[in-house]
Symmetry: D2
Subunit: 377 residues, 4 copies
Amino acid sequence: MSLRMAMVGGGPGSFIGPVHRMAAELDGRIWLVAGVFSRDPAKNAQAAAAWGVAPDRVYPDHHAMIAAERGRADGVQLVSVVTPNHMHFDVSAAALRGGLHVISDKPATLNLAQAEELASIVAASGKRYGLTYTYTGYPMVREAREIVARGDLGAVRKVVVEYSQGWLSKPLEREADNKQASWRADPAQSGVGGCIGDIGVHAFNIAEFVTGRRVERMCADVATVVPGRPLDDDCNVLLRFDNGARGVLIASQISAGARNGLTLSVYGEKGGLTWSHEDPNVLTLDWLDGPSQVLHAGSGYLSPAARAVTRLPTGHPEGFIEAFANIYRDFADAIEGGEGALVPDIAEGVRGMAFVERAVAASRDDAGWVTLEGDAR
Amino acid sequence: MSLRMAMVGGGPGSFIGPVHRMAAELDGRIWLVAGVFSRDPAKNAQAAAAWGVAPDRVYPDHHAMIAAERGRADGVQLVSVVTPNHMHFDVSAAALRGGLHVISDKPATLNLAQAEELASIVAASGKRYGLTYTYTGYPMVREAREIVARGDLGAVRKVVVEYSQGWLSKPLEREADNKQASWRADPAQSGVGGCIGDIGVHAFNIAEFVTGRRVERMCADVATVVPGRPLDDDCNVLLRFDNGARGVLIASQISAGARNGLTLSVYGEKGGLTWSHEDPNVLTLDWLDGPSQVLHAGSGYLSPAARAVTRLPTGHPEGFIEAFANIYRDFADAIEGGEGALVPDIAEGVRGMAFVERAVAASRDDAGWVTLEGDAR
Amino acid sequence: MSLRMAMVGGGPGSFIGPVHRMAAELDGRIWLVAGVFSRDPAKNAQAAAAWGVAPDRVYPDHHAMIAAERGRADGVQLVSVVTPNHMHFDVSAAALRGGLHVISDKPATLNLAQAEELASIVAASGKRYGLTYTYTGYPMVREAREIVARGDLGAVRKVVVEYSQGWLSKPLEREADNKQASWRADPAQSGVGGCIGDIGVHAFNIAEFVTGRRVERMCADVATVVPGRPLDDDCNVLLRFDNGARGVLIASQISAGARNGLTLSVYGEKGGLTWSHEDPNVLTLDWLDGPSQVLHAGSGYLSPAARAVTRLPTGHPEGFIEAFANIYRDFADAIEGGEGALVPDIAEGVRGMAFVERAVAASRDDAGWVTLEGDAR
Amino acid sequence: MSLRMAMVGGGPGSFIGPVHRMAAELDGRIWLVAGVFSRDPAKNAQAAAAWGVAPDRVYPDHHAMIAAERGRADGVQLVSVVTPNHMHFDVSAAALRGGLHVISDKPATLNLAQAEELASIVAASGKRYGLTYTYTGYPMVREAREIVARGDLGAVRKVVVEYSQGWLSKPLEREADNKQASWRADPAQSGVGGCIGDIGVHAFNIAEFVTGRRVERMCADVATVVPGRPLDDDCNVLLRFDNGARGVLIASQISAGARNGLTLSVYGEKGGLTWSHEDPNVLTLDWLDGPSQVLHAGSGYLSPAARAVTRLPTGHPEGFIEAFANIYRDFADAIEGGEGALVPDIAEGVRGMAFVERAVAASRDDAGWVTLEGDAR
C-alpha cells in the first residue's frame, strides 16, 4: 500500500528538494507522482522527467495541482512542501484545505502569526501535518531520547547544543546565482531569522526532542557578523528549561571551516550523553561512576525506537538521507493510522517560530532574559 | 531516461536484496519492475508488493522471467543478481545470453572456473556486467584512488587492509532460521571460501582499486576458529604487489566486538592515506613533512571523481546505501554509453575468485608464498 | 645553573602540590629544596622525606621559611604557592617582599581587591611573579596562539570555550575527608567563585591567551545546581571581545560523566581551530576553502613557540605534567633574564579575579550584559 | 629512601637518555648521581651539568665508574643502560658483576647468544635486571592485561598489533649528523634487526604482555624497502600463539606519514579490546552483545594494577614519560624488595632477541612458518 505524493518546490538548484524525493521514496512507502517543482516551466518539466513524474501531473502552481489531483481517482494523498519559507504557509494551508496531508520542510511558516494560524487550519482539516526536523530522524537521536525518558541519566540538569556552519563566512548572497545563500539572506523569503531560523531552530528542536523538556526562558545574543547582511548569521542563547535545567544553544553560519556540525550534550544527575552529526551512528554515554559507553546504530541492544529506524546491520553507516526517510516513513505510518508520534507536528512548528521571533526581538532590544511564550519575564 | 531492472533473489530475510533495491532506485535512474525474489511463492509475492512490482512481472524462476521480459516492449534491460553465491553463475549467464545487462553481488561466481567461463560469456554477449564491490562506491575511496593515481604519495610501498567482523564468533549457522549465517557457512552455497570469500575479497578488491596495483604473490593463513564450522572464519594474508610493494590483508568474522570495520592504509614514498568504513566521509592523509590533512566528502576541493558521487553538501553524512547507489548509477551510465569505468567488471570477479581459491589451497597445503595466478612461486 | 625552590602547601592529600613538584623538577632547571608543605608537622615531614627535602629546610610557616632562607648562602630563589586560594595573597606578598620570585597556582588571590594589591606588590618588588594557568603550557595551545597571531585565520569572529567536569555532581563536600571537594565549596577558602573560580577562569584565560583579544563585556548565568552548595557549580557566559568578536564560555562541575574536558574553538574569517584537552597533542584547523589540517605536537613544521616546549619526537604523547613543566621552565627562563613572556603574570591574575567577581555579581543581580572592568555597560 | 642511579649513554644527541633521566626521577624514588654520558669528554661534562651530576662522578667509561662507585659509601645502587645496542651486553654484564642492579633500554643485547649469556649472569648476580619495554608502563595497557587475565574476553583468538613509523622513509642514515638514524641502520651497532629490532620487538612484547600468551610459531616477511639500507625497515609477521590463537604483527619505519602509531587489538570469544598509543589514556572494549565501553585512565573503576600507575585524576593526560616512569618506579619497588613483577626481565629480553633473529633468518631463507624457539617446525 504505497502513498502517492506531490511536491511543491525542489526543482533544479534546490538542495533540499531532491533530498525529500529520495527520502520519501527510499522505503517504497511513498511515490512522487505529481508536482510543481519550479515556476520556470522548463525547470518544472526537467525535474519531472528526472524523477519519473508523468508530464500531465506537472502543474504551473499549487492551486491548479490541488484542484486537478482532487479530481483524479489516483490523485495524490499528501503534499511535500519544499519551497522557500515565505511560501510554506500558503501551500500548506491550501493543501490541508484541499483535503491533503502535508509534510513540510522547516520552518513551518514565515513567522509566528502564520504558524499559529496554520495550527488552527491543521486542527480543522482532520489531516496530518508533519515538519521535517531531520535530526530527529537519526536512530541514535531517538535512542538518546529513550535514554533520557527512561531516566537513565536522572533528572536533566544541563544541555549544550551547538550547530556550527561556516559557509556564510563571506557574503555569498551577493554573488549571482547562489540560490542557497540569496534566499536565506532575504527577509522577505526567510522571515526575521537568518541563521537562527535556518539552523538555530534545528538545535532548539533537537534539545527539546531529546530531553523531553521545554525551554521556558532564554537570553539571546543574535548577531550579524558579515557586514551588510540583512539577517543574523550567528546566535548564542542561554536557556532555562521547565524543570530548571540550564542550557546553552550556539548556532552559527560564520564559524569558518565548520561544515554542518550539530552536537548535543545532555547532562543529568548520573551521567551525560553526547551525539554529534559528524558521526551520527554512535551515541556516547559518560557516567559519573563507571566506564563510558558507545552505542552503535543497528545493534540489537538498542531500544525498539532506535532499532525501528535502521535498515542495515550495525557497522553499515546510514546518514542524512536515511534520517530524512525515517521521518517520511513515520509520516506514512501516521497517515495510515499508526502512531507516528515522533513526526514533529505543527505545535513544534509554532514553538520554533516563537523561539526565532522572541530571540531576535529580545536580542535587538537588549532585553536580557525573556520567556519563550508571552511577555512575563 | 530511466532503466528497467529485474532482481533475482532478495526476498524476505535477505539483507542485501533490499539494499540493492534502494540503491538502484535512489537516483531515479533505474526502477525495479520485475523479479524472482524467492522460490517460495508467498514470499515472492510479498517482496513484489512491498516494492511496487506488478504481480504479472513476478516470476517463478529466472528462465521464465528472461523469456517473458524479452517478449515485452517494456521489458527489463538489466538484471540484478542477489542470490546466494552458488546461483550467481547460472543467473548471470542466462541473463547475458538473454541479451540483458547484469549487475551482480559479489563474489561473481561459486569458484574460479565458473568466473573464467562467465568472463567468456560476458565477452561474447556484448552486454555490460558489473560487480557490486560496494566499498569502491564511497566518495572518499574514489578520492583515495585519485590521490594515488596522481602520484601525490609517490610510489606505493606498503598496504595494510583489515576487514574485521565479530558476528560469527559463535556458531550461528547451527541456529534455526539464521539465513544470513547458514548459507555463508555452507560450502555448497558459498564456495570454498567462508570469511575470505564473504569479506576477504572486499579487502582484496579495495586494496587493488585504490592502489591501482595488482597482487602478484601472497602467503596466507586461512583458518577456521569456531570448532565444527565447515568454512574459514579468519584469514591473514601477506601480500606482494606487482611493483614490489608489501601488504597485509586481515579479514575475520570472529573478531568479537568488531562490527563491520574495513580500514585501508596505503603508504607511499611521501605520505600515507587511511580510510575507514566506520567513518566513511573522511579521508586522512599523513605526510612525511607537513601537517596531516583530513578531506571531507562533499567538499569543493575534492577531485571530480569524488565530487560526482555525493548527493549532499559537506557535513551531511552519506553511507552504505549511497555508496551502493553510486555503483548502480555508474552502471546506468555504462549501459547508456558512458564510461562507467569504475564499475568493477568480470575481470575483477575472476581476480577475486583466484584470490580466494589460491589462498585457501595454499594455506591448507602450508605452501608459503604462492602466486595469485598460475603455479610459479 | 639550576634554581632552588621552596613550596608552600602541597602536602599529603593535595592534588596539585605533587604536580608542581614534578613539573618544576622535570627539566633539571629547578630543584625543590625547602618548604612548608602542611600545617600538620607530621605531614610536613612526610612530604619533605618523599621529595628529598632536607629536614632542616622544612618550616612550620612561610614567614619562618622566608626569614631562614634569606639567611642562607644557598637559600631558595623562588617560592611555589600551592595552598588553598585564601592563602595565596599572604604567601605571595610575603615572598615577594622577602626578595623571592613567586610562582602561584591560580587564582592569584581570594578576590579582586587582593589581586590588585598584589599587582602593586609585584611591581614594587622587582621580582618575577608567575601564575600557573596550566593549559597555556601545552605545545598545541601555543601553536594555536601563533596561528591566530600570524593572521592565518583572519580576524577572530567567534570563540567557543567549554570546560566541563562532572565530579561535583553530588555534594562531595559534605563527605568527611574529601579535601578536594570541601575547600572548593567553602567561600572562606575559595572566594566568591566556585566552579567559575576553579575552572571557569582557566577557560577565560585560554580564550584570551589564544586569541590575543580581551573580553570587554559579558552576560553571565552562574548557578548552583546541587542543592545546598554554598558556591556555584555551573556557569554559562556570553562574551564580547574587544574587537567585536562574540564568544560563549561554558564551565561546569555538574556535567555528570565529563572528566576534565576543556575544548576551545576559535573561528576567524578564513578558518577555525579547535584544541581539546582530551587529545592535547593535536590541533585541528578547518578552512573555508580546503582540506582540514591536523597538526601534531613534536613535528618539525610547527612554530618555534610550539617546538620549544616538547621533549619528545612526534607521536610520543606528552600530557598535563609536561604542560605544567613548560610553565616552570619558562619561569626559570624569566628569572634568569630570558623573555619568559608566555608565563601568565599578575595582570592575568587581576583579569581572572575581575571575571569571577563581575560574573558572579551580574548573574546574582540579573544584570544582563556588563563590562568586565568598571561599571559602564 | 631514594635510590642512587648512574647512567651509561644518553648524552647530547640522544633521544632516549633524557627520557630515562626524567622517568627515573619523576617520582622522587631514584636520583641520577653519576654517569658516563658520552665518550666525548666535553659532552660528558655537558650532560652532567645539565642534570646536576657532580663533576667528580662523571666517568670516562663504565669500568672506571663501577670501580669508583663501589668504593663510595654513597655509591650508586643501579645503572641505567642507554647506549646503542652493541654496548648493552658489556655494560649490563659489568654492572651486574660489580654488584649493581641494571635497568636497560631494549633490546637486551646485540643478539640472541648474548641475551642468553646475560640471562646466566643475571641469575648468578643476585641482582635485579629490568628492560624498559616502555609501552607496558601505560596504565591502560596494564588494564588491558588485567581484563584478559580475568577472562572478561574469554579465550584469546586473534591478535593484531601494528607499530608504524614513517621517519625512515628516506635514507636519513646517509645524512651527516643524524645520530638517531645512523646507528639504527648500522648492523655493528644495532644487530641483525633494523625495524624489527627497534620497534618490532615492542609490538611483539606488548602482544605477549597483554594476552599472557606466548608466540610459538611465525611466518615473517622482513624487508628492506629503502634501497641500499643495510638492515630491514619493514616487517610483517603472521603469528601463532601457544593456545592456538592467530596473530598479525606489522612494524614499519617506512610507512610515510605515520608518527609512532602502536595499536594493539585482542579478540576473545566474547569481545575485543583496542589500545592505541596515539590516544593512550583510553582503552576500548567492544562486546559481542552489548554497547562498547571506553575506559579512561585515572578512573576509580579501573583495576588496582591500572590505578597504581597514574599520578593524576581522570581527564588529565599522562604520556610517554609517565609510562616510562612507571617502569622505573616498579623497578625501584623490585629493588627494595617489593614484587615489581611487571618489570620486563631478561627472560623477555631473550624472547625478544629470539623473535628478531628467527624472523630475520626465516624471512631471508623464505622458510615459511618457523618456531620461535629451537628448530622444529
